[in-house]
């Protein structure tokens, strides 16, 4: 610790020797992974007051009256960010009536997932129990042209992964390029207004088998769509007089206006290296901001992605040539991208019911060469930066809102779990439906001693 930092921490600690409010919590003596400029503190104290991080450092003392959590042997991280999930927008994958994560026939880019957010989903507590405090809720990938998955009933997991929202069954107004607008959702129990950023990004699906069934169609129509959006932005009234001239409705073009103005990113689902290069060319030509998701062959294009400053969302377990677009998938995709200077966000499963996989995926990425601190950042500060969350989330720093998780051990390890989860400084309930089911069937003698 530098002398200057020491002085600062001491000063802050002194500041908190004044009586603290009932909401003051001090996590004492833990390893603190800040995911920020301070890196990791081997042993320090973090104080939360009035929803914010009030003090953090090796020499910080818990304020008088603070609720103290003994952090000895524990690890503190920022709340994890689930990047691109259907959490809160879908409940049971196999029950279509519970899906609110795709446009249906009505809209394309204009679809706004934030209206479907339901914080009462039973999977929200489950997500918090794997350290997730914030979810980037995105429209389901459009793969309407894929084979009916009914033939793969036996592959329960794959089925769950591949069950895609069914806009296709009602037909498409556009060729199915745009899934709609994503939203960021904070998982604070009981928050009546959990969407803290809507219209976060517009999803663009360039997955093979999608309704735009060939690249030669997809990219041509993509340019047309953006040209229409520009025309609409210049003169909405003129557009209204000649609406039939565009494949897109007013609502869709309204959603694309901030995209063509470079204010809202396109979250592009793309896999093959050649396609990624096309996306980079397209982004440059159209002056749009893109983020890539999937990107199994991105490692082949790593220097170009770094040069263009394009971030990627990857699943580090993705190592199979599952389609002809992912023949180059490999386990060190994340490590290679990070080494080349690309901003890497690690995803788990898209599915709300397996968000815990993200932190284990980060662990797997470490086993395959990703530096540990980069792995922590890939779940926290990097997605916060990529999606533009400002000081709302993603890293631990004095003055920031306190989305904080106290882990029983290394957060990337299979053997650890969250002991305490705070969102905006508020302690979240230590429960979930799965834990309640467990406890109902747990013998009483064991239940009595269960944490």
């Amino acid at each position: 610790m530098t002398p200057r930092r020491l002085i600062l921490s001491t000063a802050l600690a002194l500041a908190f020797t004044v009586p603290a409010s009932a909401e003051t919590v001090a996590i004492v003596g833990a390893r603190i992974e800040t995911a920020g400029p301070k890196g990791a503190l081997a042993r320090g104290t973090l104080v939360i007051t009035d929803g914010r991080i009030a003090a953090m450092g090796a020499d910080v003392l818990p304020p008088a009256g603070a609720q103290v959590i003994d952090g000895t042997g524990k690890v503190v991280t920022p709340g994890l960010i689930a990047a691109s999930t259907n959490l809160t927008a879908s409940e049971v994958e196999g029950v279509r009536a519970t899906h609110d994560d795709s446009a249906g026939a009505g809209l394309s880019a204009g679809f706004d997932i934030s209206y479907g957010v339901n914080l009462a989903s039973t999977f929200v507590p489950r997500a918090r129990q794997t350290g997730v405090t914030l979810a980037v809720v995105t429209p389901a990938p459009l793969q309407g042209g894929e084979e009916d998955d009914e033939g793969e009933d036996g592959q329960e997991v794959l089925e769950a992964r591949h069950l895609t929202a069914g806009a296709g069954e009602a037909g498409w107004r556009d060729p199915g390029l745009f899934g709609g607008q994503a939203a960021a959702v904070r998982l604070d129990e009981g928050d009546p207004d959990p969407v803290f950023k809507s219209r976060l990004a517009v999803t663009l699906d360039l997955l093979r088998g999608g309704p735009a069934s060939s690249r030669g169609t997809a990219f041509v129509l993509l340019h047309t769509a953006l040209a229409d959006a520009r025309r609409f932005a210049r003169d909405p009234a003129a557009f209204d007089r000649d609406a039939a001239a565009s494949r897109y409705g007013r609502e869709d073009l309204e959603a694309l206006v901030p995209v063509v103005q470079g204010r809202t990113p396109l979250l592009v689902r793309v896999q093959r290296a050649a396609d990624i290069r096309q996306v980079l060319r397209f982004a440059l030509a159209e002056h749009v901001h893109v983020i890539l998701e999937g990107a199994q062959e991105a490692w082949e294009v790593a220097p170009e992605l770094a040069e263009a400053g394009v971030a990627v969302l990857v699943d580090p377990e993705d190592d199979l040539p599952e389609s002809f677009d992912t023949l180059g998938a490999r386990l060190d995709n994340a490590a290679r991208l990070q080494a080349a200077g690309v901003a890497v966000v690690i995803q788990g499963s898209r599915d709300f019911n397996n968000l815990r996989q993200a932190r284990f995926n980060a662990g797997t990425a470490v086993a395959y060469g990703l530096p540990y601190e980069a792995a922590i950042a890939s779940l926290t500060s990097v997605p916060a930066r990529v999606f533009g969350f400002g000081d709302k989330a993603g890293l631990l720093e004095v003055g920031r809102e306190a989305d904080v998780v106290v882990w029983s051990g290394d957060p990337l390890e299979t053997s650890s779990w969250p002991l305490a989860v705070f969102i905006a400084g508020k302690r979240q309930p230590d429960t979930s439906r799965g834990l309640q089911l467990r406890d109902r069937y747990l013998p009483q003698d064991i239940a009595a001693g269960t944490p």
Binding site: E93, G154, A367, G369
Partner: protein, 526 residues
Amino acid sequence: MATQEPAPGSSRAVRRPTALDKDLPRPAQRDVNGVAAVVEFRFGAAWAALLLLGACTATGSSGPTAAKSDAAAHKTPLLAGLDPDADLDPFPSTYRPGPSRPAAVVGATILTATGQEIVNGVVVMSGGRIASVGPAGTPTPAGATLIDGRGKWVTPGVIDIHSHMGDYPVPSVPSRSDGNELTDPNTAQVWAEHSVWPQDPAFDRSRAGGVTTLEILPGSGNLFGGRSVVLKNVTATTVGAMKFPGAPYDLKMACGENPKRVYGSKGRAPSTAMGNVAGYRAAWLAAQDYRRKWDEYRAKVGRGVAADPPTRNLQLDTLVGVLKGDIRIQNHCYRADEMATMIDISHEFGFHIAAFHHAVESYKIAPLLKREGICSVMWADWGGFKMESFDSTEANAALVQRVGACTIIHSDDDYIDQHLNQEAAIAMAAGARAGIPVSHADAISWITANPARALGIFKETGSLEPGKAADLVVWSTDPFSVYALAEHVFIDGAQVYDRAHPAQPRSDFELGQPAQGAFTPQGTMP
């Protein structure tokens, strides 16, 4: 006939070179003659394995050695194929162990899957078998290849009891979607091995994850999906060369939502849960009737009375195999109440269910499963993706283990398969969190000894005990750590994966492809 073992030199087993095959010239890898020479070289080990296997199957059930023909008792043997008991193994294994030499892992922490954890231990492999397992100082044979195990861990080879590799290979394309014969709710007559594409690149990734044995099951769209096949995870050009010698056959059954959805949507039975049960019972009745007809026919022939044989029916052959105890039931079933119903059906017709697969609600009826001797084959916590999986809890495995019922962790997925050690670890941590600590020594059985038992191959593999097949994994660290990587994988004493070796086995499919089957050999940046 199948009862006759093939002559050693005629083996069609084909392997690709691995790190221990450095003496094998690369151009010969697909040369049948070249391979035949290798087979002769290693033929001593192969025979040792076969002899031991013979002992295994004699006490086991079906399989090549159990395929005793009753045809001799007939006055006039039936024409080829007409007698269901004449040849119980028409698609025999041609697997032969790869070349091996004596080797020992010294100084590692060893999880034997017999409840032992040996710190600073020694495992010796010789002739393709485990020669000894013991503490520091256990003698190693002169000339044995020594692997420095310090800081490393050794476990039995991982067994994934629920996979669709080869039947649903990657790339996932309609022309290779061969896992679910969705043309009738009862397809007990189909055999998964006839759908296996041995070049599925997933097998290679799986091996790099420490998986040495896989059960390939038909899908769960039907009440009776068909027969499964147990494979050694070796590279091969035919499925026969992967088939686990002597492994009993299993029959895949499915409870719940899948069959009724598939057939209900076609406007036919079953369309409800009660329709499912009526379908199972009708099939078992037909099987009993078929069995009775054959018994009567054989009795008549035995008395010298002229008799017309029943018409052979492949579907009923499989079901009768279950009723006779030769074929095991692997039953896709999520809900506790449906498992209980399946148990009632098994009592009604007198067969035994080896395992419930997916078994998301096993924790609700763990004592019943213990009493019935039925294994639960589970994910750590995957659930909620449909109504029948909605009641998942990550403490499921620990709650089953706690009552002493058979606990197994499976994948049903080519990705989870590569990280089954992690999947078991997640379930283990959930146990610890619930106040049900499960030791490393016990948890390793979830992915080794217990699936071996459920498959009827435990006498041959699944634990590190002298005399068993040398199917083992050397891990870089504690295998329940997220950071653990399989460094060396052995099957029957032959090293089939070596992470340090740059040339990894790869499927024919991946040759000439952009990334050439790239998956990081070293586990670190090149």
